[in-house]
Structures are given as C-alpha cells and as structure tokens.
C-alpha cells in the first residue's frame, strides 16, 4: 500500500459537474453565475444535478473509496472515469491523458486496455461460460482464442474459481459471480479498477470474505482502484483514502483516520459516530508532546519524570495496541518516532481517545 505523497497521480478529476436534463448547459451556467441551489435548478430548468464540482485525485496503486448514500452521485461520478457518462463540465485525466479529448476509437482502446470495471449486479453475459466471460475484454481486442482463454484461466485461479470455468454464470452463487466479475475486470491487466458497489448485494459473511480476498489481491497487484460503496465500514476496511459524497458533492477526502478523528461537518460526524476507532486511530493522534508533559510534571511534582520504566509504542500503533500495553503497565506509554521518544499517552488520554473526544481536555 502506498501512502506517501511522492506517488504519481493515476486518476484526476477536476471540477467535474454532471447535470441531467435537456437544459443542462443553461443550468450549469446558472449554478456558476447565480449560485442556484439544486432545488432551484430542478424547479427552474427541470434538470437534476448529479455531480457538483467534484475534484479528487487517486495515486498510483492507491485504493480510493468513494462513499455515499444512494442518490449521492457516487456511481455517476465513477462512470465519468471511463466516460460511460460524459461530464457537463470539468476534466478527467487518466495519467496524463485527458479522457474527454479521446475519439470513439481511442476511448474504446483505453477502456479495453487500461480500465477494468466491476458492477454491483455483476452484468455477466448469461449466454457464455465463466471462462468466456472472463476473456471478454481480450476478445473485444481480437486477442486469439487460445491465448485469451489461457489468461482467463489464470485470472480465475487468482479469484479461486479454478474448476468452475465451464459453468454458466447462472449456476454460480452471487459471491462467485462477483468474483468472476473481478476476474473479468482484471483479464486485460488494466492499470485502473473501477468497482461500483461490488459487494453491496452480497450477504454480510460473503461480503467480508470477498473484501479480504480483494484486499489481498490488491496488495499483490498494486492497481489503482476506485471503490464505490454506501457502507462506511467497508470504505474504512478497504480504502487508503475515502471521499465522502452527499447530494453530488464531495464533502470530505481523507484517510480513514482523518475522517474518523476530524469529520469535516455534522453529516460526516454522524456517519462515523458508530465506527469502532480501535484499529483506526493511531498513537500520534492522541498523544501529548513529550516536552509538554515533562514540563508539566516537573511543575506539579518538583522532580523529573522517569522515562525508563514506561512501555513504548511506535507512533503509528493503533488504540488496540495501546490498550494492551496499558493493561499490563501502570505508567504512561511513551510514543517513539524512529526510536526517538516524541510523545506520551496517559490512561486518561487513551480512554478519551477510545471515546472519540479531544484527548487533552
């Protein structure tokens, strides 16, 4: 997983607008010049604003989640990346390539070679075997039959469906069908995966299995993934970063920890309220700078604080880890950044951190 900022940008959306309706252009103009709300646009122009001024970028190898409730425009937004939907305004770049500048032929090529897509309702071809379904994107590019079927088998092995190649999609369970969908999306070995609520229609147990399986695959293959979901738990499990959408707008973009610890507004705060923080919040978020603590301690007690008896934790250790330390030690926990002590977590701060309040109040 790549988290550093030096990674190259794989997908970039700049000020993307999508307005549905016959008078979309006028409506867009009105939004920009007169600042109308979505309701006003609907009333005046009979247009629906599906995506409003969406700007984000996904780094190479990153799993970027777009999370929002139904109707928030997330599925519409992701369809702009491979131009299944044309934007009303704004730019979409794949690497250096402006996707809106392509002609039909080039667009088909980029869809077939660079972008794989997985759909919520699988959308497999019901009249073809699993193997032929997976080989679809290669077939569309006229790769010869022997080769494409061999590739299909390899991809099916990746999603652990060896032995099911000659079945029809209807013979497979929902989870297996979705794995076929995943194999199909990966068959052309694309740089980018678009996943439109791939696991939403599955029951919770199967969903979790597939999430794990997908994470494992993603780690080994290092593909840039846009992952659409309406489930924040899923977004947090899977995403390196998460964009939260509401009514067509991106409300907040951040790592799971940023979203949890610093929700941008009440809407996001309401969402993250029930999310368990134990695996997400790290020591550096709740710690107090060591120098502060030492000064305070000396002022109150008249002698220097003794660091030698304290347990230590790395700066990116999660709350779960800190709790285990705190259970077996009485003294506060020292937080190290590359072997150097930088901060301290007392029991009080730890408890506040679990609760989600400000640790230093």
């Amino acid at each position: 997983m790549i988290k550093d900022n030096s990674a190259k940008t794989a997908i970039e959306c700049r000020n993307v607008w999508k307005i549905f309706g016959d008078r979309a252009d006028e409506a867009l103009e009105a939004v920009k010049t007169r600042g109308l709300t979505k309701e006003q646009i609907h009333q005046e122009y009979d247009c629906v604003v599906a995506v409003a001024d969406a700007t984000f970028d996904a780094k190479e190898g990153e799993i970027f989640c777009i999370m929002g409730l139904s109707g928030s425009g997330k599925s519409t937004l992701v369809r702009h990346i491979n131009r299944l939907i044309e934007p009303t305004d704004g730019d979409i770049l794949i690497g250096e390539q402006d996707i809106n500048a392509l002609n039909a032929q080039q667009l088909r090529q980029i869809r077939a070679e660079k972008i794989g897509m997985v759909f919520q309702h699988t959308a497999l071809l019901p009249h073809r075997t699993v193997r032929e379904n997976v080989a679809l994107s290669l077939e569309l590019r006229d790769v010869d039959e022997q080769k494409r079927l061999k590739v299909a088998e390899q991809k099916l092995a990746l999603v652990q469906l060896t032995g099911w190649e000659d079945r029809m999609p209807s013979e497979l369970s929902g989870g297996m069908q979705q794995r076929v969908g995943l194999a199909r999306a990966m068959a052309a070995d694309p740089e980018i995966l678009l996943m439109d609520e791939p696991f939403s229609a599955l029951d919770p147990l199967i969903r979790r299995q597939l999430q794990d399986q997908f994470l494992e695959l993603a780690r080994s293959m290092n593909k840039t993934t846009l992952f659409i979901t309406h489930d924040l738990d899923e977004a947090i499990r899977i995403g390196n970063r998460i964009a939260i959408m509401k009514d067509g707008e991106i409300v907040q973009i951040g790592t799971p920890e940023q979203i949890i610890t610093a929700p941008a507004n009440d809407y996001v705060a309401d969402f993250v309220k029930d999310i368990s923080r134990l695996k997400l919040v790290s020591a550096q978020t709740i710690m107090e700078p060591l120098a502060n603590y030492l000064k305070q301690h000396e002022l109150e007690n008249g002698h220097q604080f003794d660091l030698s008896n304290c347990p230590t934790a790395p700066h990116d250790a999660d709350l779960d880890y800190l709790i285990n330390l705190a259970v077996s030690h009485d003294s506060p926990i020292i937080v190290n950044d590359q072997q150097a002590p930088v901060g301290i977590v007392t029991k009080r701060q730890l408890l506040r951190g679990i609760q989600g309040g400000n640790a230093n109040e």
Binding site: L107, Q109, R111, I115, F119, A123, L125, S137, L140
Partner: protein, 444 residues
C-alpha cells in the same frame, strides 16, 4: 382530529371542499357529509331539473351522456305519441313522461355520489376541473342542441327527409379515386416490369430449389430426415408424433402436396427472416424508425390478404411467387416485432458492461444483443411459420397449389370430407414444424 365514528369532515377537508365546489357550497357540504356518513343516495333537485346540463357544468360527463340518452329516448316516445300516429297515443305519452321522470330522478339520486367521487379524484389530482363553469355548460348545451332535435325528429316523424336517413354519398369521389389507383398500379406494372420480373424470378428459383429438395428427395429419405430432426431437437415423443403425422400424409395421398406446401412456407419464412430480422434490429436501435414502422406493421397484419392479392397478381402474375409475397406481407410483422423485443429486453447493465470493456456498437450487437435475443427471434420464426401456414389456402386462390388447393377445391365442390382431410394435413404440417422448432429453442 376527526371523530372516526361519525365521519364528519374536519376543517381542512371543509376548506378543500369549498375550493372544489366554488358555488352552492353549503348545500354540497351538507350532502357530502351525509355521503361520508353512509347515506349514499340523496335527491339533488338541481340535477333533476337541469339534467344533463347540470352534469356538464359540474364536469360529470358520464352522467351527462347517460341522462342525454335517456332524455332522447323519452322525448322520442313522447314525440311519436304527438306526431307519429301511434294507436295508443295517450298511453305512449304517459310512458314517455314516466321514463323521463324516472331517469331524471335516478340521475338526481346518484348525482351527489358521482360528484363526491369527482371531489376525491380532484384531491388526488388538482388538475381535475372543479367548480361550475359556464364554458362546460355551454359545451353541454351545444351537444344537446346538436343531438336532441335531429335524433328526436328522425325517430318520431313519420316521413323523414332523405338527407337525414342516409349519409349523402358521393359515388364520384370513390370511383375516381379507385380508378386513379388502378391507373397507378398499371403504371407501376409497366414501368417497373423488369424489377418485378426479377423478383419473380428470384422467388421462383428459390421455390424450385426447395421443391426439388422436398419433393425430389425420395420420400423415405425425407421422412427419415424429418424424424432425425425431431429426435435431435425434441426427443422421442415428438419423433413418435412426427412418424404418425407423416404416415397420415403419406397414406392419405397428401405427401407431394404437403412437401410443396412446406417448400412454400420454407421460402416465405426464409424471406421473412432475412428481411425481418435486420429491420427488427434497426427498429430496436432507432426509436424513430420504430415509430414509423409500427403502424405499417399493423396495416400489414390487419389488411385482408385478398386486398393485396389483386395488385400482387398485377405485378407478379399468378402462381407461386405472388403467393409467397402475399404470405410474407402477412407473416413478417411478428418476425420484426419479436426481434425488436428480444433486443430491447437485453439488460441495460449488460450493455453498459460491454461498453465499459471497450466494445464497439457492432460488437455489442453481435456478442451480446443478438445472442441474447435468440429465444425471442426463434419465437418470431415460429409465429411466422404458423401465419404462413394459415395463408396457404388464400395463396391457393392465385395458383399456389399444395394442400391449400385441395381445401379450396373441396370448398368449391362442397366436398366436406375431402376438405376436412386436407385441412387436417395442413394442421399436421404446422405441428411438425412447430414441435421441431420449439423443441430446438427450448433445449438451447
């Protein structure tokens, strides 16, 4: 809160009602309250007196027409008693007045109920017209003025002027139009003779080939082939049925004619498929073309086939080719419609997935839409076969021969037995073809 037991209206409802009623709201408020309490039939004197006019002004057109019909009936009876020279003039006058009063009375009783229903519809959809309106009353008056006097006069007067009794026909218009169509057909026949001749030649050679195949092949070979097809596509039961049917055709002397009919049907269906399927595909992808095509298909299906047999003879002369063409006109619409339907039924998510993987429109058509439309197209072929077989008797009229000729011959010579046997042979031909094809598209 309104009391559930008494069903009296609350204030909001009352306000709504006033909006709806516009005039005489006090009266109707009381009446509607009674209806809500379960007293459904209240006599509305205004409705009794004004009759259809009341209904028109309150926008209750179903009552308007009912009252208008009963009014006219009553007035006719009254009119006949006055001018019609009825023997029992007084009795019929009483009857007429009685009907008038009774129907107006019934109308007055249901008037409020119907009006209440209008109110409920208006609450669902505020665009329903409400209140009273002079415009609607005016329309009602005009309708009454247009229908009452003439109708009553026509039925009650003893002698009616010719103008009313029959539609003033212009024979000249009809005959000149028909003659100009004749001229058009003649012109087409002469001008496009070469084209018609080449179409005739094409169909004839196709038919010749098929007849050679069906009739020229020794009957045991043909029978074996048919049985084999039945077995491959539909299993033993259909094989048994086919064997029995073929035996009937053979022993009753219909073999050659049945094969000739099958060749005719085969040629028709082949043409239906090769023209109909592409048209169906275009229609599925182009809504405007579909909108133009649909009424044409309706005409093709409903126009009596005898009507286009005449120009068919003019263009293609008598014999089998015009019979095939007449059959094609009749049997092609289901082929086109089923193809369109099959393609339109393909799930949009599948099409979207194809696009997402970089398929061109052509690839989407051939790799997703057409394969998925196959069951529907097969059903279309099936329909075409059935409709072609139903045309064989008509086609026999212009010299198509085959089993249809036998039916036609026995019809002309009143030989019921022979006709029935030939008819049964047609049915069996249809069933053999149907079972083989149905079985085939069920198994795939």
């Amino acid at each position: 809160m309104s009391n559930l037991n008494s069903h009296t209206m609350n204030e909001r409802e009352t306000e709504q009602l006033k909006d709806f009623l516009v005039s005489s709201s006090d009266y109707y408020l009381e009446q509607f309250n009674k209806i809500a309490q379960g007293h459904k039939y209240q006599l509305n004197l205004a409705a009794v007196f004004w009759g259809p006019l009341w209904a028109a002004s309150r926008n209750i057109w179903q009552l308007f027409w009912l009252l208008a019909v009963t009014d006219i009936t009553a007035f006719i009876i009254i009119g006949r008693s006055l001018w019609g020279g009825e023997v029992y003039a007084n009795a019929s006058l009483a009857l007429g007045l009685g009907i008038l009063l009774l129907c107006r009375g019934i109308g007055g009783c249901v008037a409020n109920l119907l009006y209440h229903r209008n109110f409920n519809q208006w609450r669902i959809n505020p665009n329903v017209q409400s209140g009273t309106s002079n415009q609607r009353a005016g329309i009602g008056m005009l309708l009454i003025a247009a229908t009452y006097p003439l109708t009553i006069y026509r039925f009650s007067a003893q002698e009616v002027v010719d103008f009313l009794a029959t539609f003033p026909t212009s024979r000249k218009i009809a005959s000149t139009t028909a003659r100009s169509i004749d001229a058009g057909v003649d012109w087409l026949t002469i001008t496009f003779e070469d084209m018609f001749d080449s179409i005739t030649w094409l169909i004839r050679s196709m038919l010749d080939f098929l007849e050679l195949l069906f009739i020229g092949t020794p009957w045991p070979v043909m029978a074996l082939l048919l049985l084999l097809m039945a077995w491959k596509s539909a299993g033993w039961r259909v094989v048994a049925f086919t064997a029995l049917a073929l035996a009937y055709l053979g022993f009753f002397g219909f073999w050659d004619k049945a094969m000739s009919t099958m060749a005719l049907v085969g040629a028709s269906v082949f043409i239906c498929l090769s023209i109909g399927a592409p048209l169906g595909i275009v229609a599925a992808r182009n809504p405007r073309f579909n909108a133009v095509l649909n009424p044409i298909l309706d005409i093709m299906q409903t126009m009596p086939s005898f009507v286009y047999l005449i120009p068919a003879i003019a263009f293609f002369s008598v014999g089998k080719p015009p019979a095939v063409l007449a059959t094609v006109v009749f049997a092609m619409p289901p082929m086109i419609r089923m193809t369109t339907l099959g393609i339109q039924q393909v799930s949009p998510s599948v099409i979207e997935a194809m696009e997402a993987f970089g398929a061109s429109p052509r690839q989407i058509l051939f790799k997703a839409q057409l394969p998925l439309a196959v069951p529907s197209i097969m059903a279309g072929i099936n329909q075409s076969i059935m409709m072609s077989l139903s045309m064989v008797v008509v086609a026999a009229l212009i010299g198509a021969g085959g089993l249809g000729y036998d039916v036609l011959f026995s019809l002309q010579h009143l030989e019921a037995g022979k006709g029935l046997l030939a008819g049964l042979a047609i049915v069996l031909c249809a069933m053999i073809m149907d079972r083989i094809i149905q079985g085939h598209h069920k198994s795939t």
